[in-house]
Structure formats: structure tokens, C-alpha cells
Symmetry: C2
């Protein structure tokens, strides 16, 4: 059985919990509080030298890091992965976009505004950059979603899961989605998917069944 | 035939040119000078709303963005992609690491120090952060490469191509690789691969054959 190292309020961790819930894959959950340095202990660094969560133990003693690589691994051979070769590459394109253009801005702003007391004052200068770059990323997403139901292949895939995590937290990071109607409609569409779980309610399937 | 929109001195573009050369795939090359705003024209934005290179036209009128998604697409079914499912996920893990921890730091420093006149003064404050975070990323790579020949599956894959691009430019971005012997040995190993081309000598196969 998989063991997932995750933090409940981490968007990157939520992606993996959402995919596991959707695919009805049982797993063990280890809560890692990165705010208390628990991802930088010698024990954790032995599992992931990059000191980050989420981290999935895919085989005994073999660990997979990077939320979107974990998503790709879990989605393989399931309806969450597109069938067509170009569609699969497009899903990865949006997942790289997410890690390069969305998460470093909206995710960083969420971290400092929602999780760190006094974060707004500590990061006043960076917040301006994150807001500007985050708005630019949202505009790219809005343009793509206009006239589309999902990001790739007109159905719900791992690309949507990857992008949903921090986009649905944007309002907690001071982003206003009022001017992004296509994004708001897509967020509602993802949340209405069968098997969807909210960030705060995700729990391992096995624990829920006990 | 593929058309690649690329800039000669872009590390992200180089990745794709290196993979195409290695796979002996012919393509047309369109040079896009991002320093002259050529990736932000209405014509280019119609192809890639995110306004970035590299961009690969994979089918007439269908464009794939994000260097590592393009690499993954090109590598599919070739020796550049690992065979095993977990190995493939590990390759993607390192490619997401590259775009999240390496490129935003070493790539950004390279851009402002090597491509922009006066960039050092313009980005003095950011350069401190990029140096610190870039060193941290290099340390993670050094640890992984110690005792390994390549990043994944003990052979040359797209993960190596993705990581090579900016790591081999690190010295132009003020990084000193003296304390990273495993990385230096790996750089030499990649450069010695059959079919390897340097950043400045990559040219489309067809043009070279003409």
C-alpha cells in the first residue's frame, strides 16, 4: 500500500490526495508539518533530499517527489490520463505551466498570507511580484478555458487536478477571480466531478472505511 | 515536419534542439528573439498565449509549449524515455525539479548576467536569492549523482537533457561548480554522449544536410 507524506493545508499535497480519492486508491497518510521543520529532519531528508512534500512511497523504500510527477504516476492507465499522445503532452504542458507560472506566485502568496502569521509584512515586496505574475498566469488560463470545459481533451484529467489546487485557493491569497468567469465556471465544474473531495476533508480511503 | 520556435541562447530552447539532434529528427527552425519582444507579438501569442519559447508545432496549427513537455513528447517510444513505470515517474520528478528549483534560479541568473547588459545592477537583490536557491538545488543534484552515472535508470534520458541545459550554463551565471564534483563528472558524461551537440552549434538536421 502507498504511504503519502503530506500536509493538510498544502495545495501540492492536496493534488495527490484528490487524485488518490478520485481513483479510490487506499493509502497510509503521514502528516508532515513543514512549518515545524518536519520536512527538514535527517529522517525526512533521507527519503527526499529536496526536503519537500508531498512524497509518495511507491514501493518499500522507494520514494517519488514532486506533486505533478506523483499525479502522472498515479494517473497512468486510468481515465485521468488522456489517451492521445499529443493530448498527454498537452496535459504535461499545463502541469509544467502550473509549477512554473502558477504555483510559485499564487502558491507563494497563499503560503505567506494564509499560513504564516505576519507573512504580509514579511513579504510585502515579493507579494507585489507574485500578484502581478499570478494575474498573468490566470489570464493565460482564462483565455484557454474560454470555450472549453476542461484544460485538455475536453474531459477531466490530471491537468485539471494540478491546476485546481492553487487556483481554488487564490481568493485566500488576495486574488480576485471576478474578472475570470471561465476560470470560475471551471472551478465549479471540477468541484462537481464525482468523487471530488475538498482540501480539508481529504482522508485516506482506508481510514474512512474503518 | 516539426517547426521549432527557439532562441539560440535560451537554455530551455537548447533542451529541445539537443533532443531533436540526438533523435535525428529533422525540423524547421524559427529564431525568436525574446529580447526584442518577438515572443509577445499578436502572431506569436496566437500560437502560445503564454508568450514563451520554445514552442513546437507538432501538427499543422497545433502547438506544444513548455520545454520539458516537449522533451517528453519527443522522447516517447525512444531510448531517451525510461522503460519502467516508476523510472518514468522519476524522470518526470527531476524534470519538475528542474523547472521549479533549478531554472527559476540558475536560468534567471544566466538571463540577467549573460544576456542583459547591465543586468547585474538591475537585479542585485534578486541575484542573492537566485544564488542561494540555485546552490541549494545543485546540492540536491550533487547528492543524487554521487554514486550514479545519470539521473534515472543509470542511463542517459530526457531527465539528463532537461537538467543539463542550465547546469552547463551555471558558470556564466556566477555559480562555481568546484565543490560539486559529481555534477562536473556528469556534465562531462552528457557532453560525451554520441550525437551530443553544444548549445551554439545546434542546427536543424535538414539545414545541416543541405
Amino acid at each position: 500500500m502507498f504511504t503519502l507524506y503530506s500536509m493538510q493545508r498544502s495545495g501540492n499535497s492536496y493534488k495527490v490526495r484528490l487524485a488518490l480519492a478520485r481513483l479510490r486508491i487506499p493509502y497510509s497518510l503521514v502528516e508532515v508539518d513543514i512549518l515545524q521543520g518536519e520536512s527538514r529532519t535527517p529522517e525526512f531528508l533521507a527519503r527526499n533530499p529536496n526536503g519537500q512534500i508531498p512524497l509518495l512511497e511507491v514501493e518499500p523504500g522507494r520514494y517519488l517527489a514532486e506533486s505533478n510527477a506523483i499525479l502522472w504516476y498515479l494517473a497512468g492507465g486510468t481515465p485521468l490520463a488522456p489517451d492521445d499522445r499529443v493530448d498527454r503532452a498537452e496535459a504535461l504542458q499545463w502541469m509544467f505551466f502550473e509549477q512554473h507560472s502558477l504555483e510559485p506566485n499564487i502558491g507563494a502568496a497563499f503560503f505567506w498570507l494564509a499560513l504564516i502569521k505576519g507573512g504580509r509584512d514579511l513579504q510585502r515586496h515579493s507579494l507585489e511580484d507574485w500578484t502581478e505574475e499570478g494575474e498573468r498566469a490566470l489570464a493565460v488560463m482564462e483565455k484557454h478555458l474560454t470555450g472549453r470545459r476542461f484544460f485538455v481533451a475536453e474531459r477531466y484529467t490530471v491537468a485539471d487536478i494540478a491546476l485546481y489546487a492553487y487556483t481554488h485557493l487564490a481568493h485566500e491569497a488576495d486574488f480576485d477571480l471576478k474578472t475570470f468567469p471561465a476560470i470560475r465556471a471551471w472551478l465549479a465544474r471540477v468541484a462537481a466531478e464525482p468523487g471530488h473531495v475538498a482540501m480539508d476533508e481529504t482522508a485516506p480511503l482506508l481510514a474512512a472505511a474503518q
